[in-house]
Amino acid sequence: MIPELGYGATVAAFVLALWGAVAAAMSARTGRAALLRSGERAAVGAWVLITACIALMLYAFLTFDFSVQYVAVNTNRGTPFYYRITALWGALEGSIVLWSWMLSIYTLIVVVQYRRRQPELYPWVLSVMLGILAFFLLVMTIPAPPFERLTPIPADGRGLNPLLQDSGMITHPVALYLGFTGFTVPFAFAMAALVVGRTGEEWITITRRWTIIAWYFLSLGLLIGGWWSCHVLGWGGYWAWDPVENAAFMPWLTGTAFLHSVMIQERRSMLKLWNLALIILTFGLTIFGTFLTRSGIIGSVHSFTQGSIGVFFLGFLALVLLGSFSLLASRIERLRAEGVLDSVVTRESMFLLNNLFLVAATFTVFFGTVFPLLSEAVRGVKISVGAPFFNLVNIPVFLALLFLMGVGPLIAWRRASGANLKRNFLKPVVAGLVAAGTLRALGVANGLVLTAMALVVFVAGTIALDLFRAVRARRRSGDDWGAATWGLLLRQNRRYGGFIVHLGILVISLGVAGSQAWSVQKEVTLDRGQSMELAGYQVRFDGLSGSEESNHAKVTGTFTVTNGRAGGDVLHPAKKFYPQEQTPIAAVDYRLGFFEDIYLVLGDFASDGSHATVKLQVNRMVSWLWLGGLVLTLGAALAILPDARRPA
C-alpha cells in the first residue's frame, strides 16, 4: 500500500509544482491575479504532498515495511531507532526527498514573505522556485523513485551503510542540504530581476539574509562532515579533497565571493554583471554537486549509486546554465557599472581581489575534481590529482584571502589615504609580526604555520582595534563597557556579525594550520599488557572482549592511556562486524581537548586477545575547527537580525 500511496503523492506533487511554475509565469505575463493565486496554492499543495511522502517513508521505516525497496535496502530489523529515521536520507532516493522537502519549505516561506511586498519580482521568483522543485520531483518520479515496490518481500532488509550509523549523519546532510537548497532563493530572485529588467540593487538587498542563511548552513554542513570523517573514519583527517567534499566546497567558495561582492554593488553600483554571474555559478555548482555525487562519473568514497539519474541532472544543469546565462547576456546593456574604480588601494579593489582569489580557488578545485575525466578524454588514461595538488595551489590562495580579510573591511572606499592605512593597520601588522617572532623563538619552525599565525593575529588585531574604537566612542555617550559593546553589536549588526564570522574563520584557520603542522600518529602491534608511547602519551593494551549488538557483532579493545600528568583514562576502540559488509568498520574512541585530541583506532587483532594493532593519533588543535563553527554561528545569527538602523 505504501509504495502506491507514496508514488501517487510524488506524481501529484510533480504535477502541482509544474503547474504552479507555469501559472506563476503566466500571471506575470498577463497580470491575472487568479493564476498567481493558483500557483501559490500549487506550492502549498506540493509541500503538503512531499511532507506526506516523508511521513509515509518514516512510517515504512518504523514498521519495517520491506515491500518498499528503499526500506529493505537501507534498514534491517536490527537497525536502531534513530538510524531508521536518518536512513530516510541515507541513500540516493531518500536524499532527493529530503532535498525536495526543504526546497518546498523555502518556497513556502518566500510565498508568505513576498507575496505582498514584491508584486513585480514575486511571480517570477515563485515560478523559478517551483520549476526547480518540479525538476527534483521529476527525479523522484522517474530515475530515482523512493517508493519502488519490492517483490517478493524479503524477511529482512539489507541494513543502512554502517558508516552512516553515526550522530554526525543526523545533522550533516540536513545542514548541507539546507545550504544547497537555500541558494535557490537568491538565484530565483536574480532570475526574476533579469526577466523583469530590474537589475539594480533591489534583488540583492532582498536576498542578503537568504544568502547568509544558505552560506551559514553550507559552512555548518562542511564542518559537521569534517567532524564525522574525523571520528568515524579514523584516518585522522577532516578533509581529503575527495570529489564529493569538493562538490560541496565549490558553491561555498563562490557563495562566499557573492556575499562580499554584493556589498560593492550596494555601495557603488558596480559589478552588476559579476554578481549575477556569481549567483548563477553558485546555484549551478549546487546542482553540479548533486550531479557529481549521484551520476557515478567520478569515483568517490561518498558516492551514491549510478543509474539514469545522472542524465537527468546533466540535462537540468545544462538547462540552468544555458538558460540563465542567455538571460544574463540578453540584459547586458542594463548591467553596465555606474560607479568606477577610483584607485587601487581601496576597499572596492580589495573586495575584487577577494573575489578573484575565491573564484580562482573554485576553478582549481573544479579542475582537480574533473581532472580524471579530462585526462581520460584527452590521453585515454584516468589520472586523479590528489591532496598535494589541491594543497599546493590553494594554500597560498587561502593565505592571501586571510590577509584580505584583515584589510578589506577597514580600508577606505574610493581612495585610501596614508593616514587611513596607518591608523587602521599599523598596530595589527606589528602584532602579527610580533606573534610570528614569538612563536619562532619558542621553536616553531614551520614557515606555513608562522605565516598563518601572523596573518590570523593581524586580522584579529584589525577587528579588535575597530571594535575597541567604536565601543570607546559609544562610551563617551555615557554607557558602560558592556552596554556600549552590546549596543554597538545590535546597532551595527551587519558589520559586526560579519566581523564575528571572520573571527570564526580565523579560529578555523588556526585549527587547520595547527593540525596540519603538529598532528602525529603511530601504529603498533601490542601484546596484552604491553605499552607504546607517542608525544608524551603511554597506551597500554589491556585486552579484548566480544559482544553481539542488535545489528552487528563487536570486538572491543580496552586500552589505558596515561600522559604522565593526569591519571589513566580507559578508551574502548572497537571493530564492528556487520553481516552485510565485507570489511569490518572501525569504531574510533577519542578524548577531545582544547589543544590536543587523542584518537585510538583498533586494527587487526588475534582472536584470543593476546595481541592487537592499534593506531594512536594525537591531533592538535582540531577542536578549534568545531569551536570556529560555534563562533561562525553567533556571527551569522547576528548578521541576519533585522537591521536596527532602518526606521521602522
Binding site: 520491506f66 525497496q69 524477511a155 567520478i298 545522472g310 542524465v311 547576456a329 546593456e333 575525466l373 584516468k382
Partner: protein, 177 residues
C-alpha cells in the same frame, strides 16, 4: 567585444564543461577488470546446507557457474535468484554445474532464502570467508564462470539474468574440454 557577440559568447562558454561531463557517462570509474580472468580458479571445498561436500576439484570437466550471494542482499540477490534456478534446470544435463556460496550470513536466514526460491543446485555457506576472499568478491551478488579446464573466464557483478548466464555458458560449452 560587441554586445551582440557577448550574447552568444557568455552562454556558449559553459558548453565545453557540459560536453566533458557528458563524456563522463561513457566511462565507469568502478569498472576494474578482475585479475582472475583467464587464470586457474582457486580451489575450494565446502559443505552444502544439505550436508554434502562440494569442491571445485570434484567438478573438473564441467562448466561451473559459481554464484556468491547472501540473504541480506536486497534487492539484487532476490532479483537474480529465479534466474539462477532456471539456468540450473536448463543446463544441468548439458555439463554445467551451478554452485551457490552464501557469504557473511546467518544460517537461519540463508535457509529461509533457499526455501523461498526452491533452489535445487548445491548451496554452501562460507563460514570462514575464505572462498570469497580467494575470488576477490567485492560485494554480492557476483558470479564467476569457470570453464572445463578450471579457468575463470567471465565475471558478472550484480544481478545475473537468464540472457547473461546463457550467453556465457553457451560459449564455454562449445569449447572442447
Amino acid at each position: 567585444m560587441s554586445t551582440s557577440r557577448l550574447r552568444w559568447v557568455i552562454p556558449a562558454a559553459v558548453v565545453p564543461v557540459l560536453v566533458l561531463l557528458a563524456y563522463g557517462f561513457r566511462t565507469d570509474p568502478r569498472e576494474i577488470p578482475s585479475p582472475l580472468l583467464g587464470r586457474p580458479a582457486a580451489a575450494f571445498s565446502l559443505t552444502t546446507f544439505a550436508g554434502t561436500p562440494v569442491s571445485l576439484e570434484g567438478l573438473r570437466g564441467k562448466v561451473v557457474m559459481l554464484n556468491f550471494w547472501a540473504s541480506w542482499c536486497v534487492p539484487a540477490c532476490y532479483e537474480e535468484a529465479p534466474a539462477l534456478e532456471r539456468t540450473w534446470r536448463a543446463y544441468k544435463d548439458k555439463g554445467v554445474m551451478v554452485v551457490g556460496v552464501d557469504i557473511q550470513d546467518k544460517e537461519e536466514a540463508a535457509r529461509q532464502f533457499l526455501a523461498r526460491f526452491g533452489h535445487s543446485f548445491p548451496n554452501a555457506p562460507d563460514p570462514t570467508g575464505r572462498v570469497s576472499v580467494d575470488y576477490g568478491v567485492y560485494g554480492v551478488p557476483e558470479t564467476f564462470f569457470i570453464d572445463r579446464t578450471g579457468r575463470v573466464r567471465f565475471k558478472q557483478v550484480g544481478a545475473l539474468t537468464d540472457e547473461i548466464a546463457r550467453s556465457h555458458l553457451d560459449v564455454l560449452l562449445k569449447e572442447p574440454s
